[in-house]
Amino acid sequence: MGSDPVLKKRRAEWLVSLPTLVWLTLFVVVPTLLVFAIAFRPANPYGGIGAGWTLETVRSLWTPSNLAIAGRTLWISLLTTAISLVLAVPTGYTIARASARWRNRLLMLVIVPFWTSFLVRVFAWKSLLHPEGLIKKALETLGLVGPEATLLYHPAAVVLVMVYTFLPFTILPIYAAAEKFDLRLVEAARDLGARPFQAFRKVFLPGIRRGVMTAVLVVFIPSLGSYIIPDLVGGPAGEMLGNKIAQRVFTDRNLPHAAALSAVLVLAVLAPLVAVLVLQRKSKRADIVMGEAP
């Protein structure tokens, strides 16, 4: 009956969970499944979805130009992740080491760009790299580049702006791990004769590896799906998978094609996620074996 406390608790749980469960099923789960379904539907000439089923779209993905785009998306994302980590590890370490007052200030400085308009930040770089922009003019004055050089519309510009955008997301998990790490271990290693870089590599890095893994995920995954950055500063030479998807939707008006490319992106995003989950589980087990606190 309704007076049974267990049943009553179950009912209360369903009642408060139901609104978000329904909403997210309707607007996250169903649409994601639809992407996979539409990849197997033909396009109709009006930019919509035709009747029947076909393997044609999926088969047509395997073209040299698509492979080149996929390859570029991968290396740009990997490079962005690597550069972000190289900058984030010393920064996270410094913040964790700082006095309470400086730590709060630095953290605030890391968090603020995180909330400033993404589009505005990309635009700031676009105007700096513009042929009439400040950086171009400065490099020209220093004699480092000729007046004909272009800084924009180049894969390097994409990597630069992506590092700029994703670096705050990388610093935070590294800082969180460094803060929990007992920094005296680094000093102990130094006292025992380790050189600074050795102490860093053999003691500090393994100690914060879980933070590093999270940092890799939060840069690598959004990098794979980048769209605005290559669109605004990349030009044709810096096109990524996201640009192809948008082109299929807005220029070619071919939704099944866009769906097939998006399905590839979904799978590409899932792969690192699963890999890190497995690695983390393994490292947890290793901790237990080595007698460290889990």
């Binding site: 099923t25 639809l34 400040l134």
Partner: protein, 257 residues
């Protein structure tokens, strides 16, 4: 033993890297020159041009209408979700619930945009302000839920039981005990939802229809099709709005901790 200065030097460089581009942009919004490399004195000419543009006002109106309604709905849904996650965290239903809520935080925006577009096209929903509203609520709910969940983490549920023991009805104990404690978290989450909605470009771009241009969409087309430094002025105004909201939300999240 001397501590290495290298990490501090990197940190200083990173901070300069974060802030210089934005500071230069703000400075240039007061520069009447067409190109940013020449400073021609302080002027508000781009701001005046901005205020004279009817498209900007229309886009601002759309943006605010969406942001306010999204904030209201996302705050309610997100708070209920956070409560469920915290109170019944161990159950299998909540594990599914948590995975669903976490999804929009990890999935690249373009995937969310394209999948929602497919869903709206398949269901025959006309694209416009309403579809933007639905899309924004979907990602804002997760951010509100996570913010409120953070607040709930140090909430002691025995207070609620104490209130019940003292004769409060379930509704009274919720309204008089739980909600006041959660309020700073809810407001912080709502402010976050508000700024995210105002700022969103990628998802909005996919689900917008004719006549539903928002400020970010407007800025994008100005960047793309070479509108003058008016964008600097518009960006500066947008920065001020988001800064204020974030500072307020940070204050509230820290309150009474």
């Amino acid at each position: 033993m001397r501590r290495s200065r290298f990490p501090i030097a990197v940190t200083a460089l990173v901070m300069a890297f974060f802030y210089l581009p934005v500071l230069i942009l703000v400075a240039n919004s007061f520069n009447p020159a067409r190109f940013s490399s020449r400073w021609q004195g302080f002027s508000l000419v781009w701001y005046r041009r901005l205020f004279e543009s009817p498209e900007i006002w229309q886009a601002l109106k759309n943006t605010l209408v969406i942001a306010v309604s999204v904030t209201a709905v996302a705050a309610i849904l997100g708070t209920a979700a956070a409560y469920a996650l915290h109170r019944y965290g161990a159950s299998r239903l909540q594990k599914v619930h948590y995975t669903l809520i976490y999804q929009p935080l990890v999935v690249p925006e373009i995937l969310m945009g394209i999948s929602l577009l497919m869903a709206f096209v398949a269901a025959g929903v006309p694209l416009g302000l309403f579809t933007i509203f639905l899309a924004h609520v979907t990602f804002c709910v997760s951010f509100v839920a996570m913010t409120v969940l953070g607040r709930l983490q140090d909430f002691d549920f025995s207070i609620i039981e104490a209130a019940r023991d003292l004769g409060a009805s379930p509704w009274q104990s919720t309204r008089k005990v739980l909600l006041p404690v959660l309020m700073p978290g809810i407001v912080a989450g709502a402010l976050l939802a508000f700024t995210l909605s105002i700022d969103d470009f990628v998802i909005t771009f996919f689900v917008a229809g004719p006549g539903s241009t928002t400020l970010p969409l407007r800025i994008y087309s100005m960047i793309k099709y070479g509108a003058p430094p008016m964008i600097n002025a518009l960006s500066t105004l947008l920065l001020i709005v988001t800064f204020t909201a974030v500072l307020a939300s940070q204050r509230l999240a820290r309150l009474k901790r």
